[in-house]
Amino acid sequence: MIEQEFDAIVVGAGMSGNAAAYTMASQGLTVLQLERGEYPGSKNVQGAIMYADMLEQIIPDFRDDAPLERHLVEQRFWVMDDTSHTGMQYRSDDFNEAKPNRYTIIRAQFDKWFSRKVRQAGATVLCETTVTELVRSASGKVIGVRTDRAGGPIYADVVVLAEGVNGLLGTRAGLRKMPKPESVALAVKEMHFLPDEVIEQRFGLQGDEGCVIEAAGTISRSMAGLAFLYTNKESISLGIGCLVSDFAQTMESPYVLLDNFKNHPSIRPLIAGSEVKEYSAHLIPEGGYKAIPQLFGDGWVAVGDAAQLNNAIHREGSNLAMTSGRIAGEAIIEIKGRNQPMIRRNLALYKTMLDKSFVVKDLMKYKDMPALIHTNSLNFFMTYPQLMSQAAQNFMRVDGTPKIEKEKATTAAFIRARSRWGLISDVVRLALAWR
């Protein structure tokens, strides 16, 4: 039984919850963080790439002891058909810097580290505790939570909902709607272990350098989806995700897609001989700006994946989570400093601050992309990848056909597949949505 009343209760110990709890506890607020997993990270799944800038703003010297896998020096974007990939690749020695910009991480390890920092900052962290219900006052203000542990409710001035994409509390309490099937992707992932020198040889890496591959195309079987392969120190994280609405329509099995991706001739040699140690699944918010729910109310704020804050185009999520958690924490500190109550009108400060940050600005930029990709998945994920592969092969294969005829054949294939008007309209719509 917890008798104490806290300044804040944080529900969830993922990126956003840890950022919020750390920010508030390090400024002297009394913080209780509740996590349903056995340890922080045990319910969390991510690719995972961690963006240094957003963590530096919370824990500037994180590089001293955070469990980081590899810093990224190379990124490959692949458009795949069944036997090939057409790629763009960027690699730069500039990424070998004193304070690298992006790292691969393993979430269970990283989250344990982040949670230790939260504890050191003074927060009370309680694991193996599922929050079952929000407690409200007669006027409807959220004043605490009930858990599945013995004892009564636990009270706080404000509850930070960092409960993740599949958060039950906020939706059950009517604070936000359940994500729509077309606004979330289901991703499955495996951890493939290999000796570090094998990974370094296969990807041309030295020391802690890392490489990531992001791939789209026929591997998602006409669904809107993306596959990925990230190099960790002694393992490779690889997976594939597609919109839940597309899965429901096609009835494709995610583990079959994953195995097809692993067996693709461009991927198979990269993971050959590996030992698989885990298979995981998770939802990813994909709805962008238009899917952001109400972010604050009387006695509560929502952060991270629970608030659908994910940039699907740039594959950024954990940095939006960390930043929204930090900003929510800072807003709460500010309101408390003014001795004001944690009511809707005051907690609007969180949204005002978030709107000014890259989080909402980036999501706003791509606000039309999710709908475009969702409604045109056959073209973007099946037709164009096939056309690109044919065009590239046609360009490279030397078979005595005059070049002028090869070019004509490629142009004709694009027009046959999408029509002249279709091609122009696809380019224009994509450009408008990207702008």
Binding site: I106, E128, L186, S253
Partner: protein, 99 residues
Amino acid sequence: MTMAVTKLRVEEKLYQNRYLVDPGRPHIKVRPHERPSANLLALTHICPAKCYELNDKGQVETTSDGCMECGTCRVLCEASGEIVWNYPRGGFGVLFKFG
């Protein structure tokens, strides 16, 4: 035959994972029904842990022991009332070693 191969494959995958099963307290339940909706039927294919299966009466049943708590079924079938989804009790359920 294809079904059997697929099933074997996902069970092999789940075998790598660590779970703490809460005996007698499944966290997902399927409401009794005559005929499953399209979404409920889809779960027999798209649940990443293959927790949903058709019985010989054409109804969908669930065994949530291998569940990875992703929430796909919740997004598709909770609003219609066809399934009831709760978190496992604190500490139970899937325990990702790496995540």
